[in-house]
């Protein structure tokens, strides 16, 4: 095992100061369900681990005027069980319950889930996040890309954003709060994800010494929200496409919509095109299909993942119909 320092600060400020200002030197350790696997496989090789689990402030679910505040150390199991989440944000609770396995949900934290690294098999096999061979050949483009991106995939990034709970959080209008040496900031969750252009970039708008402290979900008053995943296996499987939809209805027609896709692009993928297609329409099979087509109109499949375009379309359509049929 490569030797590394291990520190356990008790405040976010301390933690931020223990983190390096360049990527690669230090890593934040939360539940470890992702980080430890990456370290064992030698994909990341930090010199120092900053364990944040001793920071009590980061735990638990609170609610105030800004909405529901979920501390970044709250585990997925705790979120799934939380009465407030289940009552007010059932689609989010459902997405969390469907993620990973009970064992992983017991360890995995919300902050870690937001910041987890892509499951791209080239990345996980140590060939890089933007993998190339010595001759500069792009491995994903040339190779087996059946699970890779169909949108936002001009390159060099072609992995898909892994979290299955983030699309529905974005649909609920969630924000993420960060704290670093320079203080605190808040971002709409969709702005937290970026497409890396070079090997030095990450897939999050996070400074190397910033910590995710909270996710805030505004009150979902009047929004009907649904989450739909397409997985080949019945459980414990990475989805092939995810869609989350929030609808605000005006009588029988859609007044406003949020449509967010997952597992189709290097970031969670909000679709203004689908939202526009739904606006003013009744929420039915026909409008759902049109919105789904609009969401995927710009899809550019790689050599082996054209089927994902169809799956993403179906996910969007079914999420819209599910949202239209269900409660908030």
């Amino acid at each position: 095992m490569r030797a590394f320092d291990y520190v356990s600060p008790t405040s976010t400020r301390q933690a931020a100061n223990l983190l390096s200002s360049t990527w690669g030197n230090t890593e934040i350790l939360a539940g470890g369900t992702d980080l430890l696997a990456l370290m064992k496989e030698d994909v990341v090789t930090p010199k120092r681990l900053v364990n944040i689990k001793e920071i009590a402030d980061l735990r638990g679910v609170k609610s105030d005027s800004s909405g529901l505040r979920i501390g970044s150390l709250t585990t997925l199991a705790e979120v799934a069980e939380d009465a407030g989440v289940r009552e007010k944000y059932p689609a989010f609770a459902e997405a969390v319950r469907e993620a990973a396995s009970p064992q992983i949900r017991n360890m995995a934290t919300v902050g870690g889930n937001l910041c987890q690294r892509p499951r791209c098999w080239y990345f996980r096999n140590g060939l890089g996040l933007l993998p190339k061979d010595e001759s500069g050949k792009e491995l994903v483009e040339e190779g087996d890309n059946r699970y890779h991106a169909i949108l936002g995939n001009d390159g060099p990034a072609r992995f898909v954003s892994p979290s299955t709970i983030v699309p529905v959080l974005i649909a609920y209008g969630a924000k993420v709060r960060l704290e670093g040496p320079k203080g605190k900031r808040e971002l709409p969750l969709e702005k937290f994800y970026v497409i890396p252009k070079t090997d030095r970039d990450r897939e999050h708008d996070l400074l190397p010494n910033e910590i995710v402290t909270e996710v805030v979900i505004p009150a979902a008053n009047g929004w009907k929200v649904a989450h739909y995943e397409i997985r080949q296996k019945a459980a414990f499987d990475w989805p092939l496409a995810v869609a989350a939809v929030a609808l605000k209805m005006d009588g029988s027609s859609v007044q406003a919509a949020r449509v967010v896709l997952g597992h189709v692009a290097p970031t969670p993928w909000p679709s203004p095109q689908a939202e526009a297609a739904l606006k003013g329409q009744p929420a039915n099979e026909d409008s759902a299909k049109k919105a789904a087509d609009a969401a995927l109109a710009n899809a550019k499949p790689l050599s082996q993942n054209a089927y994902k375009v169809q799956l993403a379309r179906v996910a969007v359509k079914r999420a819209i119909l599910k949202a239209a049929g269900g409660a908030a």
Binding site: R2, N125, D133, G143, D144, K233, A234, W238, Y307, Q310
Partner: protein
Amino acid sequence: MPDYQWPDPAHRTLIGKRTPRVDSPEKVSGQARYTYDVKRPGMLYGKMVRSPYAHCKIVSIDTSAAEKMPGVKAIEIVQKPGATIPWAGDEVVGVAAIDEATAEDAARAIQVKYQKLPHLVSDAEPPAGAAENQGPLSLDDLGDMLQNQVPERQIVALIQEYGISFKPTEEDIKEAKDEGVPDSVIEAARNATVHPEAANKTKSNYIKAATQSQGDVDKAFAEADAASEGFYGAPVIVHCCMEAHGSTSEWTDPDHLFVHMSTQNVSGIAGQMAEPLKLPAANIRVHQDHVGGGFGSKFSPDRWGIVTAQLSKKADGKPVRMMLERDSELEVAGARPSAYARVKVGAKKDGTLVAWQSHSWGTGGPGGGGMPPIPYCFSIPNQHKEHTAIRNNIGPARAWRAPNHPQACVLTMSALDDLAAKLNMDPYEFFLKNLELTRLSKIYRDEFPIAAEMMGWKEKWHPRGQNISGNIARGVGLSLHTWGGRGHASDCDLSIHPDGSVDIKMGTQDIGTGTRTCIAVVAADALGLQATDIKLYIGDTLYPPSGGSGGSTTPGGVSSSTRRAVVDARDALFAKVAPALNVQPDDLEARDGSVRVKSDPSRSLSWKEACSKIGATPITSHGHNDQAAAKNKPDLTNSGVGGVQMAEVAVDTETGIVKVTKMVAVQDCGLVIDPKMAESSVLGALVMGISYSLFEEKIMDPTTGRMLNADMEFYRLAGLNDIPELKVHMMTGPGYDERGVIGLGEPPVISSGAAISNAVANAIGVRVGVIPLTPAKVLAALNQTQKAGA
């Protein structure tokens, strides 16, 4: 003459009854010890430096930095500079250190320089005209064909036609004999023309592995009323044993080695380690209590097993453990060869099969591999077959549960099912119509109606694509299969002690198939005891040898040797007890925990009282089952089983996701020792069958030549929620019992792929030719029909 014959139903106390596994308590309470659990005092941890390239030459190896690291105890170079590496993940250098982390650091500190060579990891259809004739066969070619169960006749024919590229030494021949290579093959190699110059020739990746014809295919197709053409296949999959391959070796003194190994072949390991270690096999002890899966991939000590012994030697005999990491387990520890075929098959209007033509190809790694036995089960009178073997750098092939049969079954039964659809026939009627072309028509004829009844076939079957409601299409499919399963050589030592306890010693292994229970039931049945009354000692070379658990040979072997031993011991006991009951030994029987007079059961001694007549030393007996049927008098085992499976599926036509909603298996295996265990063997096979039909595939990267899904996230295995209602029926009674005991491990996994694929075709109205039936492939097939329809 002792009466070794299997007892008739009236005289069976346990055989044929539902006995729970004798090792269940140990397993469910977590006490069962696997090789992975073995922790020896002072044990060192081994790690392997593995090649990152799929095809390369080792240029140099520098171990100096690793040698200097504290805690590093031994380093063993496995392949020297100059060696050619044929696949990514191949073993290069082994290290042993005081803990796993140090061993890993040491492995990382070893500098190996490689010269990359061009690689091929694809098994796509060979370009037209690319296949070269098979040249003279190398030793590796032969080994590969034997491993892939290429029929003996076919191998002999190839040797006679092409000669060989090496001169077999007496040692090669001895080794071949020891490994059970058929005499005809050895004889052919001995008499073959040797072309030593061929050994150095670079070989094409594509070899014409077989061209076979019988009858007059062109005429038969011309006269056929219907013909169907299709493309079918099954990719390379891996064994993915839950307990990875591995072992712990220690030198108990400079001349003796003690090995704990995860293996299907306890009695066969020492012999394979002796040569490379230059140590008499008799000085090697091998032990294993439980194994977490092998499926055909754990017969050899493997290079990494030999390395543990070499490292231990360098580390003053300290135990050295090396269990494969999950990625290596999937990359190098076993793969099932792929098989693809373009098939044309023709029949008469009434369904009678008349002609088969196939162009097939597949890979088993660098060895290429042989043609699977197609057409499977049905000897269609007119045939023409060509097979191209692809030699590539995906890693080595190993026997996978029923080697070559599941692939042959997919290729054949899919093609026949498509032909039935073309004839507008219910495949049930179509297969029945052609059963006379199989060797086990009587068995299949018994099994078909039972399977149909259990599935509700008559109610569920409909012409293709005619049960679609909304986006869910439902369908049913069927398939049939066969397997050998004759018992292997097995030796059994049995003792009845004066205190009434009974023990059995046998160097076999229980690979989760219930071998312990099988032995205990056979022994207890003859002694009128319960299975749990028998104390079993297995899994060690200290006990009499018993064959490796492959080819479904174990139940026939161990039950036969146990039966002989127990009958002899029981008769010896009767001889001691008879005077006390004032009868002749022949007048006695052992029933319900007593020894009693057959004609007057009230005259009896309890089992304990009876055994007290033994005297001071236990009764001992030895039972032997011979590999050669003719040497067993009487022969208690047999070969040739038949099975039929039916699957029902629901397919989401928008997503292409296939759910198996029900599976039915009807299986014969001769005399069933324990129906409960037999059923669970079949249930396990169905689970594995669903898994390879829907999910499994070894995915290789064309650029780097590495396996991309050497993990358990993207090497998908079926989970609990993917498994539907499973129904099993074992054939028993007249016509079955008197055949003797036949193995069961392999046959029930053969048909699942074809049955599920046929069910999907029935549901969606179009064939998805290649398994696994992933959403991508199902959608592609559906889009094809939509385009064709538009």
